[in-house]
C-alpha cells in the first residue's frame, strides 16, 4: 500500500482542477454512471463526428479525487481518437486497474501513457477501484448507446 502512489501530483491536480468538467454543446452520445454504495455520480458527454472520431468529450459529476481525476484524464485522452481506438483504450485501462496488467496500447504517446499510469496506484486499494473505473464504464455505455444507468456494483 502506498498513499504516495495513489495520490500522485497528477491525480491531485486533475482531482482539484478537473479538465472538461462541463456539458459538451451539441453532444450526440451520453450516459450516466452511479456508485450506489458511495454516492459517486458521473455523466459523460461525447460529440462524435461523421468519421466516428471523438471531437469533444466532457463530464459532469461529483466524487472523490480518484474518480474526478479519472474522468478528467479520460476525457482528455479520448479527444481526437476514433471510436475503435477508444474502445481499445478502455479495455487496456480496465485491465491495468483490475488485473494489474501493463498497458498494451501502442498508439499512445508517452505523455498519454504517463497520465493513464498515474491512476494505477489504485490497484492496491480494492475498495477504490470503482472510483477509478466508474467513468470508463460509463464511457462504454455512452458509445454503445446503452440506456441503463451504469452501476459499478454490477461491474467491478
Amino acid at each position: 500500500m502506498n498513499l504516495k502512489e495513489l495520490y500522485q501530483e497528477l491525480i491531485l491536480d486533475h482531482g482539484k482542477n478537473p479538465r472538461n468538467l462541463k456539458k459538451t454543446e451539441n453532444f450526440n452520445k451520453d450516459a450516466k454512471g452511479h456508485n450506489p454504495l458511495c454516492g459517486d455520480k458521473v455523466h459523460i458527454y461525447l460529440k462524435l463526428n461523421e468519421n466516428k472520431k471523438v471531437e469533444e468529450a466532457s463530464f459532469e459529476g461529483s466524487g472523490c479525487a480518484i474518480s474526478m481525476a479519472s474522468a478528467s484524464i479520460m476525457t482528455e485522452l479520448v479527444k481526437g481518437k476514433e471510436v475503435n481506438d477508444v474502445k481499445e483504450l478502455i479495455k487496456d485501462f480496465l485491465e491495468m486497474i483490475k488485473e494489474k496488467n501493463a498497458l498494451k496500447s501502442n498508439n499512445l504517446s508517452e505523455d498519454e501513457k504517463t497520465k493513464l499510469m498515474s491512476l494505477s496506484g489504485v490497484q492496491q486499494y480494492p475498495m477504490r477501484v470503482k472510483c477509478a473505473t466508474l467513468s470508463w464504464h460509463t464511457l462504454t455505455s455512452a458509445i454503445n448507446n446503452k440506456k441503463d444507468e451504469i452501476n459499478t456494483e454490477k461491474l467491478d
Partner: protein, 406 residues
C-alpha cells in the same frame, strides 16, 4: 471414511449426556458443528471483525472480500452459473418466504394454483398459505403414497392450466424420500411453470448441481449443513432475481433514494437489505470446505450404509414400525412403537444420551394423512456410526421394558 476421525473434529462428542456418550440422531433438526467452523467464527470476531460493504477501511475491505468469497464458494458448491444467483438469508424459511412474497405478489392472481406436496414442511406451506389469504391463490397437494414418496406421476396428476408454481422438498424430513427433482423440473418447464425446491434436507446429504436439477429456486439452511445458525441461502436463477421486486427494504439494497421515489440496487445487493450475518457467512466457507474435504460422494455412500443398517436393525425389532419405505431414501428414519407415544420414547432414549426428535416435525399435513399425531425420528450426519444405531435400538428395547412393566 474414517468416522471416528470425523467425529473427533466435532468437539461436542467429547461431552457426556446423563453420563453417557452423546448419540446425536437429530441432525435433520440441526447438525453439529466441526471445530473449523467454530474456530473461524472465533478468529473473525477476535482478529478481523468489521461490517462489510460500506466502509473503505482495512478491516471492512478484508471482511467484504471474505464475505464475497463465501458467495463464490457456494456458487461452485451447488454449480450455479453466477455468483449473483446466491442470496444470503437468515434461513431456508426466509428464503422460501422471499420467493412466495415476491413471486406471489408479482405473478400470482386469484384462482392461480401453487402445487406443493403432502410431504412439505410448514416452511414450504405457510408462506404460500399467505397468498391464499391475501390473493385467493389456491394450494394443491400432490399425494404421498404409502411408502412415503411423492412420485413424478402424483405431481403430474395435480398440474392444471392454473398451476403457476411448483414448490417441493428435495428430501423429506419425515420419510427421507428423495424426490425426482430433475424430472419434476423438466415436466414443469415443459408447461412453463417455475419450480422451487426446499433443499433443507437435500443440501447436507446430496450432491447439488443447479445446472442438472435446473430448478428456478433452491432454499438451504446452513445450520443443517454443518454451518452456523441464523444463516440460509436462496439460490435463484438470475432472470428471477432481476425480474422480481425486492423483498425486505433497507440499507445496502438501494440504488438512489429520493424523497419521492426509490430505485433498487443490483444483484445480489437488491435482496440483501440491512447488515447481513457477516460472521456466519464468513464461517460458512469452512463448512463447505469441510464437506468438500470429505467429498459429497463419500458422505452419500456413508449415509446410505447407515440408512440400510438402520432400516434393517429397526425392522428386526418387532415392536417398531417404520414410517415410509421410499426406494430412494436420505438420512432420515421415522418410526413409532406400538403403545408408546413418541414423546415418551424420546424422553427415555435421552436418558441414555440418545438424542432423537419426537412430534410432527413441522409436517402436520403428512401426519394427518398417515393418521399419526406424532412420530419419532432418528436422522443422521457424517459423524454417525452403526454403533449409534445399535445404541438407538438398545434404548428402544429399554422403552418397551419400561412400558411393559405392567
Amino acid at each position: 471414511m474414517n468416522i471416528n476421525k470425523i467425529k473427533s473434529e466435532f468437539p461436542i462428542f467429547s461431552k457426556k449426556v446423563h453420563n453417557n456418550d452423546l448419540v446425536y440422531l437429530d441432525s435433520a433438526n440441526s447438525s453439529q458443528k466441526p471445530l473449523v467452523v467454530v474456530d473461524r467464527i472465533y478468529d473473525f470476531y477476535t482478529k478481523e471483525f468489521s461490517n462489510i460493504g460500506r466502509s473503505v477501511h482495512y478491516l471492512a475491505v478484508a471482511a467484504t472480500n471474505l464475505y464475497e468469497n463465501t458467495r463464490v464458494s457456494v456458487q461452485k458448491h451447488i454449480n450455479a452459473k453466477d455468483k449473483d444467483e446466491i442470496v444470503f438469508t437468515k434461513g431456508a424459511t426466509e428464503a422460501i418466504n422471499l420467493v412466495a412474497n415476491t413471486y406471489g405478489n408479482k405473478n400470482l392472481n386469484e384462482g392461480d394454483e401453487v402445487l406443493i406436496t403432502e410431504l412439505e414442511h410448514h416452511s414450504n406451506y405457510v408462506p404460500w398459505h399467505y397468498l391464499r389469504k391475501s390473493k385467493g391463490v389456491k394450494i394443491e397437494f400432490a399425494e404421498v403414497n404409502n411408502d412415503g414418496e411423492v412420485t413424478l406421476e402424483s405431481i403430474e396428476k395435480k398440474i392444471t392450466s392454473k398451476t403457476k408454481m411448483i414448490a417441493v422438498t428435495h428430501l423429506s424430513n419425515v420419510t427421507g424420500a428423495i424426490l425426482p427433482i430433475k424430472e419434476i423440473t423438466q415436466l414443469a418447464h415443459s408447461k412453463g411453470i417455475p419450480v422451487l425446491v426446499d433443499g433443507c434436507q437435500g443440501a447436507p446429504h446430496l450432491n447439488l448441481d443447479m445446472q442438472d436439477l435446473d430448478c428456478d429456486f433452491y432454499a438451504i439452511s446452513c445450520h443443517k449443513m454443518y454451518g452456523p445458525t441464523g444463516l440460509g441461502i436462496l439460490y435463484a436463477k438470475k432472470k428471477w432475481l432481476e425480474e422480481l421486486p425486492p423483498y425486505q427494504g433497507g440499507g445496502g439494497m438501494i440504488g438512489e433514494v429520493k424523497k419521492n421515489d426509490i430505485s433498487y440496487g443490483d444483484l445480489p445487493n437488491k435482496y440483501e437489505a440491512g447488515t447481513m450475518a457477516t460472521a456466519q457467512v464468513i464461517a460458512f466457507e469452512e463448512s463447505i470446505k469441510f464437506l468438500n474435504k470429505l467429498g459429497m460422494q463419500n458422505i452419500i455412500k456413508h449415509e446410505k450404509e447407515l440408512m440400510e443398517y438402520g432400516r434393517e436393525t429397526l425392522m428386526k425389532n418387532n415392536s417398531v414400525k417404520l414410517i415410509g419405505n421410499p426406494k430412494n431414501q436420505g438420512a432420515v428414519l421415522s418410526f413409532t412403537i406400538e403403545g408408546i407415544h413418541p414423546h415418551d420414547i424420546a424422553t427415555i432414549l435421552d436418558e441414555d444420551g440418545v438424542a432423537i426428535r419426537a412430534g410432527h416435525h413441522c409436517c402436520q399435513v403428512l401426519h394427518d394423512k398417515f393418521g399419526l399425531p406424532a412420530t419419532a425420528r432418528a436422522s443422521f450426519g457424517v459423524y454417525n456410526t452403526k454403533d449409534d444405531i445399535d445404541k438407538l435400538n438398545a434404548s428402544i428395547n429399554k422403552c418397551k421394558k419400561i412400558f411393559d412393566k405392567k
